[in-house]
Subunit: 253 residues, 2 copies
């Protein structure tokens, strides 16, 4: 809840804004990077009210189905997720959001979200005014094209998920989800063949809801992975111990 305090104090918010952008963990290929580049800025330091910094604690919603959003949120720090709730109470997570990601690209065009976005850890995000951001993007053909590429990438990731859910057994799905996240967090680290350790704030029910399984089954498969010496996972920290064998479980070449 430190964030709420910061929002209430202009001087500190400014400080945080600088910190968050200079120490930004967003990946090179993220939306933030593309946008900052296009605006000839070191990062996306734009005056209000074009953007605003906001912070929410873990487990709080950033937006929900019935909301009407005048601003488009982009994650600066922490983990979030987008997903939908079904009438029977079950949940499907559509994607995990890391720094640099749009909360939902659709929000650029429609103030009504078609999925919820929820913070997993404490999350800091920037909220851009929709109209300003849209004008900015489409006025510049180069920027529009680079962003379209990012969306095509997102579509590709969604297609991978469809394949996982439609045609892969449970163990494979879990391994692929984990490897995909590790690759996003530490690009290329899996190639070395040496163990890779990352922060991993997901609960087992997050994994379950992302790949269409129950938490119970996820637990059983994770303990099996551990027994086989493939991974270590505890205290919000994940280590891929045997990258080669774990990739084999995931059916990755």
């Amino acid at each position: 809840m430190t964030s709420a305090v910061l929002v209430a104090r202009p001087r500190e918010r400014a400080a945080v804004r600088n910190i968050s952008c200079s120490a930004c963990t967003a990946r090179e290929q993220s939306f933030c990077h593309v946008l900052a580049h296009a605006m000839n800025l070191p990062r996306v330091e734009v005056p209000r009210p074009v953007q605003e910094i906001r912070t929410v604690p873990a487990r709080r919603f950033i937006c929900r189905k019935p909301d009407f959003l005048t601003h488009v949120p982009i994650i600066c720090r922490g983990w979030a997720m987008s997903g939908v709730l079904l009438s029977d109470g079950s949940r499907q997570i559509l994607s995990f959001l890391l720094p640099g990601d749009f909360a939902s690209p659709a929000l650029l065009f429609d103030p009504r979200p078609n999925c919820f976005v929820e913070a997993i850890t404490d999350v800091t995000y920037r909220a851009f005014r929709r109209g300003d951001l849209k004008d900015l993007i489409f006025a510049d053909p180069d920027l529009a094209e680079r962003l379209s590429r990012l969306w095509v990438d997102e579509k590709r990731r969604a297609d991978e998920t469809i394949v996982d859910l439609g045609r892969r057994p449970a163990a494979e799905r879990i391994a692929r989800l984990i490897l995909g996240l590790v690759e996003r967090l530490e690009p290329g680290a899996l190639g070395s063949g040496r163990p890779v350790e990352v922060e991993f704030p997901l609960r087992q029910h997050h994994i379950a809801d992302a790949i269409g399984l129950t938490p119970v089954h996820v637990s059983k498969l994770l303990t099996e992975f551990r027994r086989n010496g493939l991974i270590r996972l505890s205290e919000r920290s994940l280590t891929i111990l045997d990258t080669a064998r774990f990739r084999a479980v995931a059916q990755l070449r």
Copy 2:
């Protein structure tokens, strides 16, 4: 194989081109429509070599994983599908393509497809030179934005599929797939509450591969739908007999 003949005869190809565009069945909101509008043309009648008309018979590939495509295909007539093949021989269909659809939006940026595209019926498509089409699109902010909206729409459909595969039982998935196709083919027709009949060239294995089931199980559930008087399906023709009850099976409000 009539198409090969047509391609070899300039006069006939021109005739076919006019026929296909004036009698185009692409929906209002399709890419073709948006593009034609932007170019101030009745339809997308653009001289070669910017575009070319091609035709393939049913069950033939339009493109495959290892191909290198200099042109971007857009479906003019017939049904096609995009999907991926897995190492164990199974297949996941990612989407069914109807007139007006990009074979794969990713092809606008990358000559190497990340999925195959296969004709289901005989298919006629236009192949636009990638560079020309891209320049055309991104030079016009309005066009770029309208296309981005279409991609966001596609992403939304992919997300729906993820929810279906992750959290819905088999009967619900089949019903939703069918209703989604009918809605694309005859927008609004389901609202009337009266029976709706459409051409339906899909085989049961297409349905199975699209929603992560086996053809055997699809067969069993379809015969159950028939027994319950929900649908009629034979001779490549589908009728939704009881739209209200069938929508209930699909869990649609």
